[in-house]
Structure formats: structure tokens, C-alpha cells
């Protein structure tokens, strides 16, 4: 009997996404040439930690890492979920690990309840509020109702000491087929500004900075101050802000950032506010950082056509990479066609689901 070919990828780009897609599709993959040209070749600590997390959340998966760490063969098992505590390495925040879990959690055997310990904020990866107010609403649109990220402790870089609890209680058999053809109207802008182990005035200064910028859009702005003190505030001082533009339909756009030493809180607030405006202008239904989640959920939907409006500027390298990976692993392609409206050069991404069903779940 001819055995199936292993799909091979190269480089360390989209490492987490590849692993996640492979797990969803059940196909073994091989990733080679991971930083093979680098002075310090192979997998990094956080990637190994991520693989370990995947091993814990699945049953029967096998991960083979080559001696140099530049090649990984991943044979996915069954997503089991359950309770687990993951110690995140100091290099990466919890967002790095929580984000890929959002793709898998609704399709597991048992309810997901994972505690992540480590840093809770960084410049590059998803922050807690971004996940809570930015990504989870996207999941909700696809039928994943009961999911929450509880912040037990905040831990700013570099020392961290934070703790978050990801709970996904709704196990769905397949995502709802999505049709989002209209750019939704933003009804209000919300946000959270937090600080740990610094003066609470920083928070208010950030809020001021952001409000000043957002005044011009003429829309309700409501930014919550969230100053953490005591032992729940981690080991290092830090502060940051997340802004979320809400729509009545449930879609969200967001931007976030954290302050470092020497940054002016007002400037950070203003910058994040500007970034939010930029993000809004660049996105149709979902923001750039929500796009991957939305597209993957659409791909693993029913065998029906789902549609999502995207803007021209959303088609960037990352998006193309995502689509290519999806094509290689799932074999489905996304059909892009311009919207009928002449005024906008938005596109409609038409995706036929692969008819995925959550076979991990036990029969009721």
C-alpha cells in the first residue's frame, strides 16, 4: 500500500501555524532548514516549549527533532485538551503560546483549561487583552461561545511572573459558515491601559494620550484604567495599552503596545491610537492580526462556501504565506474576487470549507 507523502516545509516562518494546521488536518509534516544558516542553528527554546505544549495537549502525536534541531517531523495525534499548566520560557510571552491554542481548543476531546505562566506582555506577540478582546470575538463569530482568558497575575518583561488561565468550554463539531460581505460600522472604541509595579498615574497618562488622538473620530471612547499592585503584579515594572474598536456586529479591530524604559506614556497612548486608526483603515471585516484565525476557521468549516471581505492592503506577505500553507496542507484554495462596488477595491475571499468535523469529541 502506498503510504502518503509527508508535506515538507522549509524555514522557521510560521512555525506555530504549520504545527497547528497539521494538527487540524491530521497530516504529518516535516519542517526542515530551520535557521540552518544561522550562527545558532535549529529550534529556539520557545519553539521547543511550544512543541512540548502541543505534545501535552494532544495524544499520540510524535515529534522528531533532528540532532542539530534544524529539522522537525511532526505527526499529529488527537487533540485531547484537558487541564495543564505550561511554564513559558523567559524569551516569549504567554500570548505566543495562547494564540495557537485558540485554533485547536474548540476541536478537542475534553474542555481546554490551560494555565500559562511567564511573561504576559511583549512588543511582538499577542497580549492578554488582544486575545481577550481581539481574537476571542472572532472565535465567537464562528460559534465558539464559551471561551475566556482569565488574568490571574500580570507579569511584565523581563522577569515576568504572570499567570493566565485559558478556558475553552464549548466543543463544537465544526465552525459556522461565515458570510461577512459588508465592512461593519464601528460603534465605539474601548480599551484597557494597565500597569504593574509602576505608579498608576502612568495609566492615566496613557489614556489621555490615546483619547486626545481618538477624539477626532467622533465616536465614543472608553478606556479602562487597570493598575495592578501587590503580588499579582508580577516581578517587573511595566505598562501598556490595548485599544479595541467595536462594531455592533461583533467584529473588533484592535491595536496594542507596551511601554519600555524611557518611553513617555502619552506618546505610547497616542501611537497605539494612531495604529488603531491605521488598522481600521487597512481592514475590512477583520484586522490583519485576526485574519489568519478567521481564514483558518473558514477553511475548516462545512463544505459550503463562506465569504469574507478583505481589503487590498491586507494581502501582504503573511497572508500569502498563510494561504500557501493552507493549500499545501488542506489542498483548498481561496478564491479572491473584487467586490461589486466600484468605489472600493476591496476583495471578497471565497472559501469552501473542507468539511472538517471534530472527530476527537466523544459521542454524546
Amino acid at each position: 500500500m502506498a503510504s502518503p507523502r509527508i508535506t515538507t516545509f522549509q524555514g522557521n516562518r510560521n512555525f506555530r501555524l504549520l504545527i497547528v494546521l497539521a494538527t487540524l488536518s491530521g497530516k504529518p509534516i516535516k519542517i526542515e532548514k530551520i535557521r540552518s544558516e544561522d550562527l545558532n542553528p535549529g529550534l529556539r527554546d520557545h519553539e521547543v516549549s511550544f512543541l512540548r505544549l502541543m505534545e501535552a495537549m494532544t495524544n499520540g502525536s510524535s515529534i522528531e527533532i533532528s540532532y542539530t534541531g534544524t529539522t522537525v517531523i511532526y505527526k499529529p495525534g488527537i487533540i485531547t485538551g484537558g487541564s495543564y499548566t505550561h511554564q513559558c520560557p523567559p524569551g516569549k510571552p504567554v500570548g505566543y503560546f495562547v494564540e495557537p491554542m485558540l485554533y485547536l481548543a474548540p476541536f478537542s476531546k475534553k474542555k481546554f483549561s490551560v494555565i500559562f505562566r511567564g511573561i504576559t506582555a511583549s512588543h511582538d506577540d499577542a497580549g492578554l487583552e488582544a486575545i481577550k478582546w481581539g481574537l476571542m470575538p472572532v472565535m465567537e463569530k464562528f460559534g465558539v461561545r464559551e471561551c475566556a482568558l482569565h488574568t490571574l497575575k500580570r507579569g511584565s518583561p523581563p522577569l515576568g511572573g504572570g499567570e493566565v488561565h485559558l478556558v475553552v468550554d464549548s466543543l463544537i463539531s465544526q465552525p459556522i459558515t461565515m458570510h461577512a460581505l459588508e465592512t461593519p460600522q464601528i460603534s465605539s472604541i474601548r480599551g484597557v491601559a494597565y500597569s504593574t509595579r509602576v505608579s498608576p498615574s502612568m495609566v492615566n497618562r496613557m489614556i489621555d494620550g490615546a483619547r486626545k488622538v481618538l477624539k477626532s473620530v467622533g465616536c465614543e471612547v472608553d478606556i479602562t484604567a487597570d493598575a495592578w499592585r501587590g503580588e499579582n503584579s508580577g516581578k517587573s515594572p511595566g505598562w501598556g495599552i490595548t485599544l479595541v474598536a467595536e462594531t455592533k456586529k461583533g467584529w473588533r479591530y484592535f491595536s496594542e503596545g507596551i511601554g519600555g524604559a524611557g518611553d513617555v506614556p502619552e506618546d505610547l497612548g497616542a501611537q497605539i491610537a494612531y495604529e488603531l486608526l491605521e488598522e481600521i483603515s487597512n481592514s475590512a471585516v477583520v484586522g490583519r492580526n485576526q485574519l489568519a484565525l478567521a481564514v483558518v476557521y473558514m477553511v475548516i468549516g462545512k463544505e459550503d462556501i463562506g465569504r469574507l471581505r478583505i481589503t487590498k492592503s491586507q494581502i501582504d506577505e503573511k497572508f500569502i504565506c498563510l494561504l500557501r500553507h493552507i493549500q499545501e496542507i488542506f489542498g483548498t484554495e481561496v478564491f479572491l474576487r473584487p467586490v461589486d462596488d466600484e468605489d472600493s477595491d476591496d476583495l471578497i475571499a471565497t472559501i469552501k470549507g473542507i468539511g472538517f468535523t471534530n472527530s476527537n469529541k466523544k459521542m454524546a
Binding site: A2, R5, G11, G26, N59, G60, E182, G218, R324, F335
Partner: protein
């Protein structure tokens, strides 16, 4: 004479029920409930009936406009008339008679319906299982004289657990009943039995005798009408999987490979057939299961023109062609208009493995029946051809050169005025396959007269703009790689007189003028596309061109790339493709920012500059003021800050409406101005262009465009509005949840159709895959040679698509029950052949039960009449899938009992499972302290004890305890404590759970690879192995049930030392009475017998002795007589049984011709009744 008619009957004045209603001057019924109780009952009943009609709403994925043929399986025990029925039905539907029924036979049965008949081999359980999985309708044949036979019951049970297709019973051989009353009675009995099996009121047809080798026309007509109006509900499994019933296979291994490497190599095989179920993905390498062969990857798949199109489809195609011609402005269409009625020409039949119309397709040749030589209607006589088809054949017959020589260098002329194209190199391995033919040979030009669709090549075509050059490139490559095209061809032998003969052959050298239109058109458009390539890139294609790096993609799409590179990419071949990618990956390795969650933003300064005013996105906010006014002001060169300030004011006043005095009005006017201006500006360059375009359009076209726009809008609007169909609104238009779901599904399928129809065929293929209903050719590399070698068209070949989850292997936990008709219970780890999903495989299930949900405990045997769990290793299948299990599939091993041994449903799948079996360790105390005891004989080493430290133990009498520590001295002894003092005679029990591992055994039933398909033998059952090897069942003497002999326990009396006794309180003192000193009367009395009395007593004793002896003698005598009699009776009984047997044997040898075929397997067909 006066006619005397009967007097007219007078209207009676009796108060009828109707009149009574009107007694009060109005209709009582109209104003009150006459019988509330009855009304309640009727309402209850009608709602019950309605509710019973409902099924779980399920999406039907079968395309509406061109559905695949309905698979009608004819199933039944041997000799019930399956072949005769198929022949009769085919004859009824197509007016052509078959001499042999081999493989699926597809016929057109109505304007929009086709049927595929398949006969299920009667004596093969494997085929029955496969057929049960794909049949839409089962014609269940049964012999009216015998009623339900084992095969029928087995098939019904199989079908039930694979989704239950529609079942029509057909009882045959009813002419053999002599008396009408028995016929009627047995009909009734059959019907009721059938109803209990299928459902109450299931249709059962009765066919009487055979006339001219067919069933009576009237009965067949009724049956065919019944079939042709039958509706089918979607079945869950089939709705989720693509599948195909192969109606033809060809071995397309290159002959040279066979020659050089011998016949024993893996073959390249093409399967042909209609796709059913969901769409089959067009991505290469999709995994499918070939029932009876195994799991394989599709190496290529190709859609072929439908060999048996429905009249509806043909009509649509013709309409399309006419439209095209009209667009062309050509003369009146040459395509003939189809009639509305199904005429004889449309009654197509396609049965490549049977001999339809005198053409028989074998594995590697096509045989044509030429009729009687030189007879009356002889055809294919050289020189007297009747039509060009015959000419072709006779030409072939008289060929001097070999076929290969003849066609060496023959090209393919697509258009009568075009150049010949040359055949793609046969050698499929040759990827580069560049063909530079000259087109000298004219061998085929006379015969081929392809119709030209659309425009000629020279004309420019606007509609192919969509083709990007790259895509075209890809397609060409694909064509090069693929096999030379093989086409199904219809040769029209009809040349005026004579009967129309529909012949369908397969040959790579023939291209019909009918079926190939699609292909022709495609090629034509491709040719044109290559002429006017467009340099505009389509993002949809760019994204999936893996040889271009993502960054490059975007550049090109946005039109930043130079033209030189573009042409480079176009000319890239496969080899270049790899190089390019490798180069790209290096670059990929460098930048790492894909892992970054935060998207890229401009620097702060740029952002500030850009967003000094948020006007450009103002329209994105609800209730925000219109942006244009401010926009205008900024443009006018005023200070941006001021504008900003302006808004700040508004914001400060917290009012979203800006009707605030003069300020607002100013803005308003400004806005109008700006609008007008911007309009003028924007339309400035396009204005005249627009006008031009408008002039070109006629009013009709404009209307059409508008209509299309409206339709689009409507769809969009409805979708938007009906996003959740106002689900939460209790006043929505849907009364029930069911209706709501139905509406949702209908909406979604509408969206699907609309979205898919808007794509070009290529795009559609990519997105959707191959739809159900398309006739495809699927090529597999590396199928075992036995599959081809031992191919027998009588056995169905079924290809089922696999979902991603079904590719994995693991442990399946299922709820299972021994079938109540199966004679024996099932043993853990005894091999069982399961039919789960598409697959049939042997595995070793472990039966378990759940101990109050804390653990899965192994069971040695399945319980008698209850469900238990079974865990087995095998391919995973999503939960809620039902399956059946059989112990043996080989006919030689069947005993004639019911073969389906278990039925079940998948509960859960996992990579591993924890199953335990109970293990009791037993030990004995040898030294007992107060609550502590030393226990021996439970373990053999201290290490074992260490493993169980702290474990709970128990004595038989129920005293609980705990293992403490191992003793150092006698190895394996340990100290334990108990809640009370135990006895030395107690037995100590440690109850533990021993993990059981599932053996990873998976053995697919590869029955189609065998010469004798019904003789697949896998792992033997334990019992069978023992029987064959003459082994005894091992028995553990401990496990044997023996009579429990309990030794009487003697307890010594309680002895209390007198010293203690003395000190005891009075209450606790043991009170002992003094022994009696006086003699009792009985003891002291003396009996003295008198003489007389003595005599009497001794006499009596003698009498009794004598009588006793006599009695004993009598008894013995009687016993003997009885024994004798019993012996005699037994002998008589034996004789009677013997005689009975003889009689039965005689009867069945005379009357029971049913199973004769079994004795002489080969000539089963010929020995059929009548």
C-alpha cells in the same frame, strides 16, 4: 306502449345527520366544537403524524441540475432471478437486450434521471457489504417459494448499519404456486415479514413467471415506474464522502515496463465512473480507499464527457451552443433541436463491461459482434458499409499495417481549416514531452469532422482575458504529464434504415464529434489565450504560484515588477521551479517576522502625519459626521489643527448631530460643494468613456445588466439580513425550528451555487473539486498486479474518499452488541472482520465494560443481550458511525448460520486507551499480632511488595487493611495492618487492576486481489485453530467449578480457669447446674416380657422379614422389566429418527433445488431455474 318506469323515490323527511346540524337555523358545526374529545384526539394524531415525518435536517450535497445516476443494486440469494430482472428492466428502459450482465449498467430512465444497475454477487459477503454502502435503492429479490433466506437477512442487516438505502422487495417465482389460496397466503406472510424488517408498509413487488427470458412486461413496467419516481433522502456518510462505483477499469501500465520488468510489478490503473456523494478534491494525491484493495493516493483525475448524458443535460448543452452561435452572429444553428419527449435515441445505455449493442469491452480489447456472417442483417461487410462508423471498422479490419504503424505520426486536427496537432507522446514518464509534429499524415482527416464551437482561432476573443498566461502554462504542463487523452466515443451507425445502434468504444485514436466539444472549446480558447497574453496579474493565481516569493507576488500584483521578470517566470519549467524555490527559501530563512503577531506599522512620525485628521475613515464609524466638509477645508490649505479643533468642539458638546447653528449649515453647504467637485473630478477622465460604453449597449443589454446587478444585490442583502434568519426573534416567519433550519440550508446552497457559478470553470474546479455527477477517470499508480490479473467484472469496484481524520490509525472505542441472530458470543481478542466506513478489515477487538465510569474493565466475552464496549486498533472514523462485524467472509468457512456477528457504533477515537482486567492476589497470614499480621505467599520478592506499599487489602471476612512494608527475612513476605485482629485461617486478598494492551493488528480484507474473490481468509478464530490443530482448550484447574467441600469447623468449648471464674461478677459468671444424682423413671424402670408376648414378638418379626424379602424381590424384577422396556423404546425412537432423516433427504433432493449451484459452483449461472 307506455313505458313503465319505476316511480321516482321521494326525498325522505328523515332527520339526517346533516339536517340535524341545521336545526337551529344555522350550521351548528360552524359555531361550536361538536366533540371536543374527538377533536383533541384528531389534533393529537395529526400532529403525531406530522412529527413522525420529520427527519434531522441534512444538507443534500447532490447537485440539482446534473445529479449522478441512482445506483440500483439488485440483491438476493442465488437463483432468485437477479440477472433476469436487470435484463428486463434494461430492456424496458432502453429497448436493448443484454446477453450478459457484467458490472454496472447505466441507463437513462427519464428526462433528468439515470439509473445504474448493479448486480450483487449472491454468494459473496464482501460484495454485499460494499453494495450496501453505495446503493441508493436496493431491489431485494426473494424467492416466493422459500421466503426470506439467510443472504436476504444478512444484506438487510448490513444495509441497516450503513445508512439504510431505500429497499424495494421483489418476490419472484410466484408462478410455481399451484393453488391461489396458498399463493395469497404466502404473499401475505412474505409481505408482513418484509414489513417487520424494513418498515410498515414497505413496497413489495410480486413477479410471476419468466416469458422469453424476461419478466412479464406489465409487471416490469410497474416496477420501473415505481423506481423512476422514487425520491431519496441524503444519507449522512454518503453526504460527507465522495465515492465512485467503477464501471470500467483499464490497466495503463506501459507495456514496455511490463516487458522489461515482468508482469509481477505494481500496475498503473485507471478507474472510470460517476462520482457520487460530496465533491472529490481536485488536489493531487488525495487518499481514497478501494474497497477490497486498500488505501491509495489518486495520481491523477480527469473529468470526461458524460457517456450517458440525460436528455435535460443535452438540451441545456444545446441551448448553450445555440446561444454561443447566436452571439457569434452565425447563421441559424446547425445543432438540432431536441424534442421534449424522451425519444428512442435518448434512451442511452452505458455498460462497458457488459456486451451492449454487440460491443463487449474486455480488459484490453474491444469486441464487436458483427452478427451472422453474410446473413440478412450482416453488418461490417467490406464494401457494403452502412455509415461511416462501419467504414471505419472495416477499414481497420483490412489494415495491412499494424495499428501502431498505421497511426505513427498521425495528428489530430481540431478544426477543418486548422493545422494538425500531434499526439502527445505516449510515454507518460516523459515530463518534458515537447511535441514538434509536422502533420504529414492525413490518415484520420476523412473520418474526423469535429464540430466547431465558438469562434475560429483567428478571431480575437475577449472572454479569455481571464486566462493568465501562467495558468495556461500550468495547464499545458499538466497535459504533457498526463496520459494521452482517451475519450469515450459514440459511433453513430445509424444511416437511415435499420435499427439505431448505440455503440460506445474507447480508443485513444478516436474523438467523437459529440462528446469532445468541451475539450475542443477549451483548447481553442487556450490557443487564443496564448496569443494575447495579458500582463495583468490575477492575485488569485499569483498567490498559489509557489515559485514566486510572497513579496514578489505582492509587487507584481500591485504592478511594480518589471516586465522582464514576468516573462522569465512564465517560461519556467518544473526544474526551474525547484531551483527558484530553494533560492527563495534562503531569503525566507532570514526574515522572521511572520511569527510576529503585531502587524507592521509605519513609524510614529509618519502615522502622526497621516492621521492628523481621521477623515478618511470617518465613514467607518457609526453616527460620525461626514468627512467631506473637513476634507475640503484641509485641501483648501487651511490649518489642519483648526479643523481638528472644530471637531473637538463638537465632541466637547457631546452631540453627534451637528445641527448647531451656522456652523452646521456652513459645513452642510461645504459638503455639497465638495461632493459636486469631487464628482466632477473623479468622473472627469472617465466621463466620455462611460458615455461611449453606454452608447454601445442596447436597451436590452442594459436591462440585463441591471437585472444581474439587482440579483447580486438581492443575494447580498438577503445574506446580510438573513445572517441568522432572525433566530432570536420569536416573531420570525418560521413556525418551527425545523423550518428555520431548512431555510438556512436552502439559503446556503443558493449562496454556494451563486458563488460557484460566478467562477470560471478552472477556478470552480479548484475551489469545488470534482462535483458529484461528473464522469471521471481516476488513475492510480502502483496498484497490486493481482487486482488487474484477477479482475472480475461481476464484483463491484468501489472507491470511497477519505476524510483527513480517517487517514490516521488509532484506537477506536465503540459500543457493540453481538447480533441476536448470531449463534455464539464473541471472545475478546478473537479476530473480527469489521466493515467500518469504506473499509473492511480484520482486527482484534477487546470487549470492555465500564465500571461505574471509573475504569474500562476487560470482558472475556460479549454479554448475551446487552451492549458492551469494544476497543480495537484500526483506521479512525468519526464518532457516531455505525458498523457491522463478521467473523468469517470466506464462503468455504461459512456454516450456513447467520454471519453478521456484531453491530455497533463508534463512540470515541483516541491514540491510546486504558483497559484493565481484574487481578486478585492472595496471601495467608502466618503470624498475627494485635492489628498487625505477617502475610506470606502473596509476593515473591521484596521489590514486588515495595510496588504495592500502601495498597488496600481485605480478608475474606471483610476486615480491611493496608500493606505496610516487606519483611527482610523470608523474601516476599510483608507486614500489614488491619482494622481488627484477623484469624490465622483468614485469606488475604489484594484486588488490583492489570492493564491490557490492545494488539495493533489491522488486516484489510483484500478480497478483490484474489482469484476466488469470496475466499478471503484472514486470521483464524481461536476456536478454529484449535479445532484444526486438534488442540484441547487449555483449562486451568483452578478455574474449574468443583463442589465446594467445607470442613466442619470444630470450636473447642470455652474453658474459663476457675481462678478467673471466681473473680467474675455474678452476671458474667457461668452458671452450671449440678449433675442430677437421682435416676429418672425411664432409667430405673425394668421391662419383663411374658412368654406369650415373647412368642408373638418373634413371630411378628419373622413375618415381617419374609414380607420384606418378597417385596425386595418384586422390586428388582420390576426394575429389570422397566429397563428392558426403555431399551426397546430407545431402539424404536432411533429407527424413527433414521426414517425421518431419510425422508427429509429424499424430499430435499427432489424439491430443494435451491442450493444446487453450491455443489457445482462453476456452472451456477446455467443451472438457474428455467
Amino acid at each position: 306502449m307506455e313505458q313503465s318506469n319505476r316511480e321516482h323515490r321521494k326525498k325522505s323527511d328523515k332527520a339526517t345527520a346533516k339536517k340535524k346540524l341545521h336545526t337551529q337555523g344555522h350550521n351548528a358545526k360552524a359555531f361550536a366544537v361538536a366533540a371536543p374529545g374527538r377533536m383533541a384526539r384528531t389534533m393529537q394524531r395529526s400532529s403525531d403524524v406530522n412529527e413522525r415525518k420529520l427527519h434531522v435536517p441534512m444538507v443534500d450535497r447532490t447537485p440539482e441540475d446534473d445529479p449522478p445516476p441512482v445506483i440500483v443494486a439488485v440483491v438476493g440469494p442465488p437463483g432468485t432471478g437477479k440477472t433476469t430482472l436487470i435484463k428486463s428492466l434494461v430492456r424496458r428502459m432502453t429497448k436493448s437486450s443484454l446477453t450478459e450482465v457484467n458490472g454496472p449498467i447505466t441507463v437513462v430512465s427519464g428526462k433528468r434521471r439515470r439509473l445504474t444497475f448493479i448486480e450483487c454477487p449472491a454468494d459473496d459477503l464482501n460484495s454485499m457489504i460494499d453494495i450496501a454502502k453505495v446503493a441508493d435503492l436496493v431491489l431485494l429479490m426473494m424467492d416466493g417459494n422459500f421466503g426470506f433466506e439467510m443472504e436476504t437477512m444478512e444484506f438487510l442487516n448490513l444495509a441497516q448499519h450503513h445508512g439504510m438505502p431505500r429497499v424495494l422487495g421483489v418476490a419472484t417465482h410466484l408462478d410455481l404456486f399451484k393453488s391461489q389460496s396458498t399463493l395469497r397466503a404466502s404473499k401475505k406472510r412474505l409481505k408482513h415479514r418484509f414489513w417487520t424488517e424494513v418498515y410498515q408498509g414497505a413496497k413489495l413487488f410480486y413477479l410471476s413467471g419468466v416469458v422469453n427470458g424476461r419478466y412479464p412486461d406489465r409487471e416490469i413496467l410497474n416496477l420501473s415506474r415505481f423506481i423512476s419516481v422514487m425520491k431519496f433522502r441524503p444519507l449522512k456518510w454518503r453526504n460527507e464522502h465522495p465515492y465512485l462505483l467503477a464501471d470500467r477499469i483499464t490497466d495503463i501500465t506501459h507495456p514496455e515496463v511490463l516487458e522489461t520488468q515482468g508482469k509481477q510489478i505494481d500496475r498503473k490503473v485507471a478507474l472510470y465512473g460517476y462520482l457520487h456523494g460530496s465533491a472529490l478534491t481536485s488536489a493531487a494525491g488525495a487518499r481514497v480507499h478501494l474497497a477490497g484493495v486498500g488505501d491509495y493516493s489518486i495520481s491523477s483525475i480527469e473529468k470526461l464527457p458524460d457517456p450517458c448524458p440525460t436528455p435535460y443535460f443535452q438540451q441545456k448543452q444545446d441551448e448553450y451552443e445555440r446561444e454561443k452561435l447566436k452571439e457569434e452572429g452565425a447563421a441559424a444553428s446547425s445543432a438540432p433541436r431536441r424534442r421534449k419527449r424522451l425519444d428512442d435515441k435518448q434512451k442511452l445505455i452505458y455498460a462497458p463491461m457488459s456486451d451492449v449493442g454487440g460491443i463487449l469491452m474486455d480488459k484490453d480489447a474491444v469486441f464487436i459482434d458483427v452478427g451472422t456472417k453474410n446473413g440478412e442483417g450482416a453488418s461490417f461487410v467490406p464494401g457494403q458499409e452502412r455509415g461511416e462508423g462501419e467504414k471505419l471498422v472495416t477499414g481497420l479490419q483490412s489494415a495491412e499495417k499494424s495499428l501502431a504503424e498505421n497511426f505513427d505520426g498521425v495528428g489530430l486536427q481540431l478544426f477543418s481549416n486548422g493545422r494538425e496537432m500531434h499526439a502527445v507522446d505516449e510515454n507518460s514518464e516523459d515530463i518534458s514531452g515537447e511535441e514538434e509534429g509536422d502533420g504529414i499524415n492525413t490518415g484520420r482527416t476523412a473520418l474526423r469532422r469535429p464540430r466547431i464551437y465558438g469562434k475560429s482561432v483567428q478571431e480575437a476573443d475577449a472572454e479569455v482575458d481571464g486566462f493568465s498566461s501562467a495558468d495556461e502554462d500550468d495547464n499545458d504542463q499538466l497535459d504533457d504529464i498526463g496520459e494521452p487523452r482517451k475519450k469515450m466515443v459514440e459511433i453513430d451507425f445509424n444511416s437511415g434504415n435499420g435499427e439505431p445502434v448505440e455503440a460506445q468504444t474507447d480508443s485513444e485514436f478516436e474523438l467523437s464529434d459529440h462528446d469532445d466539444d468541451v475539450w475542443t472549446r477549451e483548447t481553442a480558447s487556450k490557443l487564443q489565450a496564448s496569443k494575447n497574453r495579458k500582463k495583468k496579474w490575477d492575485i488569485g493565481k499569483l498567490i498559489y504560484m509557489n515559485n514566486i516569493s510572497p513579496a514578489d507576488c505582492i509587487k507584481r500584483w500591485r504592478g511594480e515588477a518589471e516586465d522582464e521578470t514576468v516573462s522569465d517566470v512564465e517560461s519556467e519549467t518544473e526544474e526551474d521551479f525547484f531551483k527558484q524555490r530553494a533560492a527563495g527559501s534562503e531569503k525566507v530563512g532570514v526574515d522572521d517576522d511572520l511569527e510576529k503577531f503585531k502587524p507592521h506599522f509605519e513609524t510614529f512620525k509618519k502615522l502622526v502625519a497621516k492621521w492628523s485628521s481621521a477623515d478618511s475613515i470617518k465613514h467607518r464609524f457609526l453616527g460620525a459626521p461626514k468627512a467631506s466638509a473637513a476634507h475640503e477645508e484641509v485641501e483648501g490649505g487651511e490649518d489642519g489643527e483648526e479643523v481638528y479643533g472644530d471637531f473637538e468642539d463638537l465632541e466637547a458638546s457631546e452631540s453627534q448631530v451637528q445641527s448647531n447653528g451656522g456652523d452646521g449649515s456652513e459645513q452642510e453647504t461645504a459638503k455639497y460643494e465638495s461632493d459636486a467637485e469631487s464628482d466632477a473630478e473623479s468622473s472627469g477622465s472617465f466621463a466620455d468613456f462611460d458615455e461611449e460604453e453606454k452608447k454601445d449597449l442596447t436597451t436590452e443589454e442594459e436591462r440585463e445588466q441591471n437585472a444581474a446587478k439587482k440579483e447580486n444585490l438581492r443575494l447580498q442583502f438577503e445574506m446580510e439580513e438573513g445572517d441568522n434568519f432572525k433566530e432570536d426573534d420569536p416573531n420570525n416567519e418560521y413556525d418551527t425550528w425545523y423550518e428555520l433550519q431548512k431555510a438556512k440550508m436552502a439559503k446556503q446552497s443558493e449562496i454556494n451555487n451563486a458563488a460557484l457559478e460566478s467562477m470560471t470553470p478552472e477556478q470552480r474546479q479548484k475551489i469545488e473539486g470534482f462535483r458529484a455527477g461528473s464522469y471521471v477517470r481516476i488513475v492510480f499508480d502502483g496498484l497490486p498486479m493481482e487486482f488487474v490479473q484477477n479482475f472480475d467484472p461481476k464484483y463491484p469496484i468501489i472507491m470511497g474518499g477519505l476524510l483527513p481524520a480517517e487517514l490516521k490509525f488509532g484506537i477506536v472505542k465503540a459500543r457493540i452488541r453481538r447480533h441476536r441472530w448470531h449463534k455464539k458470543i464473541l471472545k475478546t481478542n478473537d479476530p473480527l472482520v469489521l466493515s467500518l466506513g469504506w473499509r473492511r478489515f480484520q482486527t482484534l477487538p477487546i470487549y470492555t465494560t465500564s465500571d461505574s465510569r471509573t475504569r474500562n474493565r476487560m470482558l472475556k466475552y460479549t454479554p448475551e443481550h446487552a451492549y458492551c464496549f469494544a476497543s480495537f486498533y484500526g483506521p479512525l472514523c468519526s464518532p457516531n458511525t455505525t458498523f457491522c462485524g463478521v467473523q468469517v467472509v470466506a464462503n468455504s468457512e461459512t456454516t450456513g448460520n447467520f454471519r453478521i456477528s456484531a453491530t455497533g457504533i463508534v463512540e470515541e477515537i483516541d491514540a491510546s486507551v486504558e483497559i484493565v482486567k481484574k487481578l486478585k492476589l492472595v496471601g495467608y497470614p502466618y503470624k498475627i499480632f494485635r492489628n498487625t499480621a505477617f502475610i506470606k505467599d502473596m509476593f515473591s520478592s521484596a521489590m514486588e511488595v515495595a510496588r504495592f506499599e500502601g495498597a488496600q487489602i481485605k480478608t475474606v471476612s471483610g476486615i480491611r487493611g493496608e500493606i505496610k512494608r516487606a519483611l527482610s527475612k523470608p523474601e516476599g513476605h510483608f507486614r500489614a495492618t488491619f482494622e481488627d485482629k484477623i484469624l490465622l485461617s483468614d485469606t488475604i486478598i489484594l484486588r488490583s487492576w492489570y492493564p491490557v494492551h490492545i494488539k495493533k493488528f489491522y488486516n484489510p480484507v483484500t478480497s478483490l486481489l484474489l482469484q476466488n474473490k469470496s475466499e478471503w481468509k484472514g486470521l483464524r478464530l481461536t476456536g478454529r485453530i484449535r479445532a484444526e490443530m486438534g488442540l484441547e482448550t487449555p483449562t486451568n484447574p483452578d478455574s474449574a467449578y468443583a463442589k465446594v467441600e467445607r470442613v466442619e469447623r470444630r470450636f473447642n468449648g470455652l474453658k474459663i480457669p476457675s481462678s478467673i471464674q471466681k473473680s467474675l461478677p455474678f452476671k458474667s459468671q457461668i452458671h452450671q447446674m449440678k449433675p442430677q444424682k437421682k435416676k429418672t423413671y425411664m432409667a430405673k424402670r425394668a421391662v419383663v416380657l411374658g412368654d406369650e408376648e415373647k412368642k408373638a414378638r418373634s413371630f411378628m418379626q419373622k413375618v415381617f422379614t419374609v414380607s420384606n424379602a418378597k417385596e425386595e424381590k418384586n422390586k428388582a424384577k420390576k426394575l429389570d422389566a422397566r429397563k428392558e422396556r426403555l431399551k426397546k423404546l430407545a431402539k424404536l425412537e432411533e429407527i424413527k429418527v433414521e426414517k425421518d432423516k431419510e425422508r427429509k433427504k429424499k424430499y430435499f433432493s427432489e424439491n430443494g433445488r435451491k442450493r444446487q449451484h453450491a455443489d457445482s459452483g462453476a456452472d451456477a449461472g446455467s443451472k438457474k431455474r428455467r
